[in-house]
Symmetry: D3
Amino acid sequence: MTTKTGEIAGDASLAPIEYADASPEVRAIYDDIMATRKADWINNFWKYLAHDPQNLRRIWSDLKEIMGPGALDPLTKELIYIAVSITNGCRYCISSHGASARAKGMSAAQYGELLAVVGMANQTNRLAVALDVPVDGRFAGGNSITRT
Amino acid sequence: MTTKTGEIAGDASLAPIEYADASPEVRAIYDDIMATRKADWINNFWKYLAHDPQNLRRIWSDLKEIMGPGALDPLTKELIYIAVSITNGCRYCISSHGASARAKGMSAAQYGELLAVVGMANQTNRLAVALDVPVDGRFAGGNSITRT
Amino acid sequence: MTTKTGEIAGDASLAPIEYADASPEVRAIYDDIMATRKADWINNFWKYLAHDPQNLRRIWSDLKEIMGPGALDPLTKELIYIAVSITNGCRYCISSHGASARAKGMSAAQYGELLAVVGMANQTNRLAVALDVPVDGRFAGGNSITRT
Amino acid sequence: MTTKTGEIAGDASLAPIEYADASPEVRAIYDDIMATRKADWINNFWKYLAHDPQNLRRIWSDLKEIMGPGALDPLTKELIYIAVSITNGCRYCISSHGASARAKGMSAAQYGELLAVVGMANQTNRLAVALDVPVDGRFAGGNSITRT
Amino acid sequence: MTTKTGEIAGDASLAPIEYADASPEVRAIYDDIMATRKADWINNFWKYLAHDPQNLRRIWSDLKEIMGPGALDPLTKELIYIAVSITNGCRYCISSHGASARAKGMSAAQYGELLAVVGMANQTNRLAVALDVPVDGRFAGGNSITRT
Amino acid sequence: MTTKTGEIAGDASLAPIEYADASPEVRAIYDDIMATRKADWINNFWKYLAHDPQNLRRIWSDLKEIMGPGALDPLTKELIYIAVSITNGCRYCISSHGASARAKGMSAAQYGELLAVVGMANQTNRLAVALDVPVDGRFAGGNSITRT
């Protein structure tokens, strides 16, 4: 692995942990990732996270629970994930969840609209804060996850 | 209007611009907002933004174009808007777009899942950056809005 | 509950879920929170999160695993939590983890130094990005969690 | 185009849309960008955004309106743009608006002072939030865009 | 001081440190703040920061150096400060530097344009990151504070 | 220096200022950095910041004061610095302070736990804001740096 400028040469400790080199504990999680996703490979995020098996296990377990079928369909969840990742500036996450979204059917037109909404929200978020706009009485309950 | 601590008493210049007090230019935009939304009131964001009519016109015009029907359905757009607003910490926007989402049918279960995805994305975004995970070759094109 | 400006009057759906009103599933988690913390009350974060029991369970389970004794002592973990919360501007989290840190022995002098480091890091983070400073070759492995 | 690690080889779908390959709709916007800026080339931002012509048109139209002469001179607007871009960590935007600012006369001394202010603001923003400092009564109206 | 919900009643330790109660060390800094600003009062930020005199001294000393006359005029520096504060969502800082900017002559029209630029920059920052736009060769040196 | 895509060729103005080329003013600061750190080299951050000697002097002076021994031990300060840097997405800072932390004894297990806490805090920060959780009365004083 190299950095942007190529100054940092290979350091074994930085290498992603490949399946062949993984401990049985890590390998079991890799197996579950591939089985859940019906894939035959592991993307880099997990191979880097695997340096700490406890983090690997917890994050994967949570992601598996959260991103599966539910009240929101899987593609909508990916769009939400991308929106957050763009706002936080996570290049890896934009790429990986962008790929997931396309695999789940995201069209170019949908991606263009996603970008439009994300851009606009980032703009109006700042304006609402700058203007210190008070929440309208009619929006009461806007933060709740249940309502009558 | 008062601040959090109630120390700042009313200042006429801070008042939202109500319809009755608005210039014809601003009133025309208010009319378009209400007609587009089939509503009989204007929420505070626009009434504060109206102190600069050019900003009011441009932001409303953009929002109208972006949030209307398209390749993504209006509810999905609201969910994306909320996800960005939570990530940026805009309380007003969470409330206003939360209300819009509920008006468009968002259920409590859907909101719970939205929160789960937003929370998880904020977590993994930071981990991917911390670990400096390189983008997988298989994700090529993840940033593009078109693909073959 | 009221908003900053007092415009939003009580809405039952916004109420925190108190122990007496909680489902058996939620109550069991509340019990575990109190037992783990040797406390006789539940702070608001959990009572609001409880509107979605799955989120409540997962977040609590993760937090319990992460914040317990380990290679880092519990006070250091709280300091790290506060540093992130200040950077993200989460008032609730600054208050709640500030209270936890004090309960674990954080002194006023330590908090003053924490603020100094957090302020300085927020400053130099921006300067390093602005200047596009390339990572020094000698820092190779800076992102790794293991090294030889 | 390649990624940081060089793993992602050329993918036609990722290519910026050059003038020669652009649709008449996109080409007309390119022409307006060049005419407005008295330039004979288009910078990459527009060539990537052009994959969604509606986004290209709206963002350019807005930027043209906002960055032109007004109550603030064009150089001051560029400095503000850079300050936001540094705070958000947008490398492309720092470079492109840095170039615009220099073209409009920004000196090295001015850039050094811009960095100093941006760094300091990022520091005190966090401290003010951490300390939960209440707004002084004398600052009433600080969020308004009009005042008596 | 009270919190948003009024649940937290007065706690002596939370009180700002008034001039009359300040140590000689803190009082000397307060005197310098007032003398530098030709003011007869101290705003809350310093009175809360004063709980840690070392932080008070260092931050004030830096701010005094940075915000004074230089290659950028004082009003431009305030505009930059506000732009960062809006982007970071620091309500106190928006109010305090908004007041400073108005005292230095910022007009309502200028503030409206500041908001427009800040909103637009927050939008395009995200789009440039989402699209992973490579820096144009012609922008070389965009990050430098010196140029030929 | 080259950019990510290699499009920007060397520009003398972008070069870090090496010791041999530094002015006496800059060289004196470099000497103090090396003496303080008992090191025989200067990392890139300072060499880029040195284009503005006033910024170099002020930032170094502050950092030296803040990161030295105090109520918090130097390693804990580094962990806090890394936590902020991850949250802000500053790759350079994660690498440089990661190296400092390892030099001060940070183990792989400690780094794994740091990542876990940072990831969790970023998650719950967003959830607390989304749910608009009011601060508990028992947390009164959570923002203070002193308490009875």
